[in-house]
Symmetry: C2
Subunit: 121 residues, 2 copies
């Protein structure tokens, strides 16, 4: 699957949240803190189309954009890539790292334990 750059990912998030949308709609929904102009968003949309991760259908003079890939699939791929690169593919190594950095709250721990318990059943 094509890589999606960080900025482009923000556009994908918008469309995973709600689709189809026009370019203007997407621009309106992109997080404020990006500070993007409509032109910038349109560039992103073109590039995402070129990468094949978006599709568009004509709606009069405009396009309606929608994702061509599923969020879960992309997220799974990226997570896997990071775990492979940084943790030798070992998920426990990632969890150990998070633990060592105090990234796990008591609630997180409880939730993960519950998840794992259900997994085993």
């Amino acid at each position: 699957m094509e890589r999606i750059a960080e900025g482009e990912y923000a556009v994908m998030e918008v469309l995973w949240e709600e689709a189809p949308l026009t370019a203007a709609d997407v621009a309106a929904r992109v997080p404020e803190n990006r500070g993007w102009s409509l032109a910038t968003v349109k560039t992103m949309l073109s590039r995402l189309l070129a990468k094949g991760v978006l599709t568009h259908e004509e709606d009069g003079r405009r396009y309606l954009y929608r994702p061509a890939i599923r969020r879960e699939d992309y997220v799974a791929e990226e997570s896997g890539r990071l775990i492979d690169r940084m943790f030798g593919g070992r998920v426990p190594a990632l969890v150990a790292q998070l633990a060592a950095r105090d990234k796990l709250t008591a609630a997180d721990i409880a939730e993960i334990e519950k998840l794992l318990k259900e997994l085993k059943s």
Copy 2:
């Protein structure tokens, strides 16, 4: 902290494994499948120096390179970044994702549970 590109990261891995090293040593230790020339490795080293994530000391006419940042720190930052972007900062969401994708072996699960149990004590 400065971002480290994927290729550059491979060079950092070498130096985290063993340091200090000369440029030639690093090149010799970079994974084969990269297929990099010595020149390429030297470019990487320069860029990593410029980013401040490596230091070098003179050794006669050569340099000896060594990491200026700790692997754990960098890995922690990158993991955090991914978890923030893709899972809204929620580690359990990441674990759930991995579970749903069958990325967790029984051994992984057992190991993680052990880890979490120790954490609580």
